[in-house]
């Protein structure tokens, strides 16, 4: 019966494209995301929900900044660093951005090598990704301690609107937590790749499902999302 229905829909929409293919997929009365594994679809849906979390943070920051009568601190000066006698605006944030983008690049290549079943290169590239991620968290910790030393608190700071501190700690703290868990997640998947779990289809300790190199791509989706969120934080919080 189910078999019958499946062949019927495929006959009704032989080469559907564009909006018709979407209508066909969602009305197919079966799996909506055809050719997309459940693991990948669920990671995408999780990322969508996480998008809303970060959107809420950024929107509340926007609301605080737009509605305050006190001038907003100039991020360009607050995050400036003096290196060798030269004061560079936002330099640490720029370096953090480059580090995170590089980690995204190595992750994308790791996914590629994973599908070529190149165990060694995948594991090395993922390890590099994890190291870059850890470096990012380290620089963020440095930035936090610098600002805390300068007297920034969630309820006050020396340069202007008090909401600057609360927005800063909330947004970068939540993002840093995502990066930290991503590093942990990366190390776990790296170990599995290195051990050959995905070649031997060894069962996972939590889901008991057969290992598959698609896990690397799903991990990659999360990691790229963390980078994606940073693009928005960099634009709205640091540059605006």
């Amino acid at each position: 019966m189910a078999e019958q229905a499946a062949t019927d829909t495929s006959h009704a929409y032989p080469e559907a494209s564009g909006l018709r293919s979407i209508a066909a997929d969602f009305s197919s009365d079966r799996q909506a995301f055809r050719n997309v594994s459940w693991g990948k679809a669920m990671m995408w849906i999780f990322l969508l929900s996480d998008t809303f979390v970060f959107s809420c943070f950024l929107i509340s920051y926007m609301t605080a900044r737009m509605s305050t009568t006190v001038p907003w601190p100039n991020a360009s000066e607050v995050f400036a660093l003096t290196i060798g006698g030269v004061t560079l605006p936002l330099i640490l944030i720029a370096i953090m951005t480059f580090v995170l983008i590089s980690s995204s690049g190595t992750m994308a290549m790791a996914v590629n090598y994973a599908y070529r079943r190149d165990r060694r290169k995948t594991a090395i590239l993922m390890l590099v990704t994890a190291l870059l991620g850890a470096a990012f968290v380290g620089m963020q910790a440095f930035e936090w301690s610098k600002l805390i030393h300068e007297g920034v608190r969630p309820w006050s700071n020396a340069w202007g609107a008090a909401q600057f501190g609360s927005s800063f700690f909330m947004i970068t703290g939540f993002h840093g937590t995502h990066v930290s868990f991503g590093v942990l997640f990366l190390l776990i998947v790296t170990r599995k790749v290195w051990r050959g779990d995905y070649d031997q289809e060894r069962r996972g300790f939590f889901t008991s499902r057969r290992g598959n190199y698609e896990s690397v791509e799903i991990m990659g989706l999360y990691w790229h999302f963390v980078d994606l969120v940073w693009v928005f934080i960099f634009a709205f919080f640091y540059l605006w």
């Binding site: 494209s17 293919s21 979407i22 997929d25 969602f26 909506a32 995301f33 055809r34 050719n35 997309v36 594994s37 679809a41 995408w44 849906i45 990322l47 969508l48 998008t51 809303f52 959107s55 929107i59 926007m62 609301t63 737009m66 509605s67 305050t68 009568t69 360009s76 605006p89 936002l90 720029a94 951005t97 480059f98 983008i101 590089s102 995204s104 690049g105 992750m107 994308a108 290549m109 996914v111 590629n112 994973a114 599908y115 070529r116 190199y213 698609e214 791509e217 990659g220 989706l221 790229h224 999302f225 980078d227 994606l228 693009v231 928005f232 960099f234 634009a235 640091y238 540059l239 605006w240």
Partner: protein, 111 residues
Amino acid sequence: MAQASAHGQGQQHPIRLYLVVWIWLFALSACSYFVDYFQFEGLLRYSLILLFMMLKAGLIMAVFMHMAWERLSLVYAILVPISAVLVFVAIMVLESDYTLLSRLSFFGPGT
């Protein structure tokens, strides 16, 4: 065909593609840093920030997250709900303008 192979053995693209996108992301990040470094002001600043941001986000989503090769129903299921965020932004812009106006007229100096 492309989708069948995407399911069977995963996404297969030349490494070169990722390196090119990586270089682009570096260049775009450098551009957005220079927006601040050269202290562009006003509308120019905001439009440049948004432009570089959208280009970077688009590249990451389309190439690194392989959305350009995903099935259209998945792409729409992810991208369409995000438009609700834009509605939320619009609502909060109006709300914060109103809050600012109230603060200026009731708590401002000289009132």
